[in-house]
């Protein structure tokens, strides 16, 4: 009963917010009216980023300071999902951004930022250069393993993880290996090693533990072990209840289990984050009491995808394909987006939306292609099996 009441209260607040979205330009009546809440309001550590930027502005060629700022900004982007911080990181690296031979610190950060705009080729070129100069650079190897995994190049990713095994904390190397290994036929062994490493490192940094637990939850989920997956996600959430990646992953897990009502309280305040807003919309779609809120979410998402298209971005194709398929209901358009997205990245979620769209659009050729890719990589993912089973 209490939860229904709570639902009602913020439902009203959404209807109020929705009314202001379509408003015309206006002159506020009152000087005290709050127009915008800055992210540092809820995350005071971002104020430090502002201070760093004004210090760097006085001496823009100070590499140590620029690298510190860029790292802090990338961290802020990770925490908030807000690409403005990636832009600030790039601005800090401006003196080295177009340089053919930047110093190693700038090169690593530049590769990370290129990856954030899906310039995977550019990121790999920078990382190759960095690793050629410093073969033992653990961070560079780890970053390259991540980019390679996103691209579905698992063997190369695993080779990089093997190279850092001697240099990194055991949990880092176990997680590095577990991500590509679990997607290329060794899910069970990868999962065991990761759980072992987690058990043997109880005092490890909370952020690292949270991330390893999220990964463990994802692997358990793909293996069809929902109970373990949920336990890992919950333990991770206890360590960082606001990590947008974890929230999106857990929300997807709940949506797959028809637990839409559990999704809502988890992410109801994260409407500025497109990925989380999509999950919220998918949950609201299934809850009759949230009809009005659903319409608002749908309109907001459509506006944001439209805005992204207007600026020429193709960074949201996975989410847009999902939105187009599940909410707009246009299988043909969703398939087009999912195929474009598949060219750039090959994570299980990318394969899943490709398969779902292909099934809905009745495109047997794409279905066959995607299923063959999964078979060739020995990808184990319980959620994909029913989709691939529909192959005719």
């Amino acid at each position: 009963m209490a939860s229904v009441l709570r639902l009602g209260v913020w439902l009203i607040s959404f209807i109020v917010a929705a009314g202001s979205v379509a408003a015309k330009p206006f002159i506020p009546a009152d000087d005290a009216q709050v127009l915008e809440r800055l992210p540092e309001k809820t995350n005071p550590s971002l104020a430090e980023l502002k201070r760093l930027r004004s210090t760097l502005a006085k001496n823009p060629h100070d590499l140590a300071l620029a690298a510190k700022l860029a790292r802090r900004a990338i961290e802020a982007a990770r925490e908030t999902g807000d690409p403005r911080f990636f832009g600030q990181a790039q601005a800090a690296l401006a003196p080295w951004w177009n340089s053919p031979e930047p110093p190693p610190a700038a090169l690593l950060l530049r590769a990370t930022l290129k990856q954030s705009t899906h310039d995977f080729a550019g990121a790999l070129a920078d990382l190759d250069k960095l690793i050629a100069a410093r073969p033992g650079d653990g961070q560079a190897l780890l970053t390259r393993a991540t980019v390679l995994t996103v691209q579905g190049r698992y063997a190369e990713a695993r080779a990089d993880c093997t190279r850092i095994a001697r240099r990194a904390v055991p949990l880092v190397s176990a997680a590095c290996e577990a991500a590509p290994a679990s997607l290329s036929g060794d899910a069970e062994q990868a999962y065991r090693s990761l759980i072992d490493a987690l058990a043997r490192a109880p005092g490890v940094d909370a952020g690292l533990r949270e991330w390893a637990l999220t990964l463990a939850g994802e692997i358990a989920q793909r293996r069809g072990d929902a109970a373990s997956a949920e336990a890992h996600f919950r333990e991770a959430l206890a360590l960082d209840p606001r990590d947008p990646y974890l929230l999106a992953t857990y929300a997807d897990f709940l949506l797959d289990r028809n637990r839409a009502a559990d999704v809502v309280p988890l992410i109801k305040d994260a409407t500025k984050n497109d990925n989380l807003l999509l999950r919220l919309a998918l949950a609201a779609q299934r809850l009759p009491q949230m009809r009005a809120a659903f319409e608002t979410y749908r309109a907001d998402l459509a506006a944001r995808f439209d805005a992204a298209r207007r600026r020429g971005d193709s960074l949201h194709q996975r989410e847009e394909a999902r939105f187009t398929l599940a909410i707009v209901g246009d299988a043909g358009a969703a398939l087009k987006l999912a195929r474009e997205n598949w060219k750039a990245q090959k994570e299980p979620a990318d394969l899943r939306i490709l398969l779902e769209a292909a099934v809905a659009a009745n495109d047997t050729a794409t279905l066959k292609q995607a299923s063959e890719w999964a078979a060739a990589n020995r990808l184990q993912d319980a959620s994909l099996l029913p989709l691939m089973g529909k192959r005719s």
Binding site: V21, A23, P25, F26, I27, P28, D30, A32, Q33, V34, L35, E36, L38, E40, K41, T42, I74, E75, A77, R78, T80, G81, D82, P83, R84, F86, G87, Q88, Q90, A91, W97, T112, Q115, S116, T117, G138, Q139, L142, T143, V147, T149, V169, V172, D205, G207, L208, W211, P244, Y245, K272, N273, D274, D300, R304, A307, A308, R310, R311, D313, H316
Partner: protein
């Protein structure tokens, strides 16, 4: 710390770009000389650049924005340049409002301005926030003659030239500019006249004789005009597409010299039968001159080839009009003493004198008699 950084970098792939990135929304509408527009800029981005949050409480109030209106205008207008016909169209902000977009509150600047120089295209330079956030984009909606163009400004593409209306309007506008350019460009007309004056005559045994038939005169004229056209079309295209660039002082001086030489050749003939060759050679130089005029007009990014073609066609039409006016008249007068002595000899001396002054002015960057 090192471990933490590794973690951050490791996780990044999964979380990128979940928010709406930084964009501003610019609308510009041109109506003859008048420009009106609206520019929506996120308060978050303005705070980032100017520090709107005066009391540092993480909230931006209307009072805080209002107190900084002048700074916002100065900051924004210093990063937007609009020009037509090679001359800036200064913009002002008439009103500042607030609007809610899907990702937060935006300052709304109502823009107005006047373009002192007409022109078929509008050159827009946009530099807002690129230094603070290279991933920022400026999304322009440009309206002219009821037609809409969408343009995206980025750090890599911060200057763009916008055309008018439909492709057909665009073509017509550049044909018009081409015609006027040749009519108002006295150096081109004088060069052409210098080559055409003797076309109705024949050089025989050291003296000028009237051409026997209109057909012969017409063929001579056609050869000269065609050679000049082909030559200047080649260099106009090469220069307009940025494939060849020569210093404009050098080009302008060479054009003046070409006029001097063509005119003197009529008084002291060196070349008489192969004037079309001279037309071709010097036409290459005149083409660079046309290109610099076209550069001032601006070539719209979206319809560059079409506009270039239109301008070239305009130049040819303008030239053809001059020939059509000249040839019958000159042919009719060709046998008279006045034509040979006053028009050909006197006219050529006068042309050579004017062009000589241009040559000195342009080569030494002086102002003698002309503007």
């Amino acid at each position: 710390m090192k471990r933490l950084v590794a973690l951050v970098l490791f996780c990044i792939a999964a979380v990128a770009w979940a928010h709406k990135p930084s964009d501003s929304y610019l609308t510009l509408e041109r109506n003859d000389a008048a420009i009106r527009g609206q520019w929506d800029i996120a308060l978050r981005d303005l705070d980032n650049a100017l520090g709107l949050d005066a009391n540092g409480d993480g909230e931006i109030t209307w009072g805080e924005v209002r107190a900084r209106h002048a700074d916002i205008i100065a900051y924004a207008l210093a990063r937007l340049e609009v020009a037509a016909g090679g001359t800036a169209c200064p913009l002002r902000v008439d009103e500042q409002l607030i609007d809610q977009h899907s990702d937060g509150a935006y300052a709304v600047l109502k823009l107005a301005g006047v373009c002192p120089q007409p022109g078929p295209a509008l050159a827009v330079g946009y530099r807002l926030f690129f230094d603070l956030d290279p991933m920022h984009r400026g999304l322009l909606q440009y309206v002219e003659a009821g037609h809409n163009h969408s343009v995206i400004f980025s750090a890599e593409a911060s200057a763009q030239t916008l055309g008018t209306g439909t492709a057909w309007d665009q073509l017509a506008a550049y044909v018009h500019e081409g015609v006027w350019h040749i009519w108002l460009g006295f150096d081109h007309i004088l060069f052409l006249l210098s080559l055409l004056l003797p076309a109705v005559l024949l050089r025989r045994g050291g003296s000028w004789q009237p051409a026997a038939s209109f057909r012969a005169a017409f063929i001579d004229v056609a050869k000269i005009v065609t050679a000049f056209t082909i030559a200047h079309s080649i260099t106009l295209s090469l220069a307009a597409l940025g494939l060849v660039a020569l210093p404009s002082r050098w080009i302008e001086s060479a054009i003046a010299l070409s006029v001097v030489l063509a005119a003197i050749n009529n008084v002291f003939p060196v070349v008489s039968h192969g004037r079309w060759l001279a037309a071709f050679g010097f036409g290459l130089i005149h083409g660079f001159g046309f290109a610099s005029a076209l550069k001032d007009l601006g070539l719209p990014t979206g319809s560059l080839a079409l506009s270039l073609f239109g301008f070239n066609v305009g130049v040819e039409l303008g030239q053809l009009a001059i020939v059509c006016a000249f040839l019958p008249l000159a042919f009719a007068l060709r046998a008279t003493w006045a034509y040979r002595r006053v028009v050909l000899a006197g006219g050529s001396v006068l042309i050579a004198a004017i062009a000589g002054v241009w040559l000195v002015e342009r080569a030494f960057d002086l102002r003698l008699i002309t503007g």
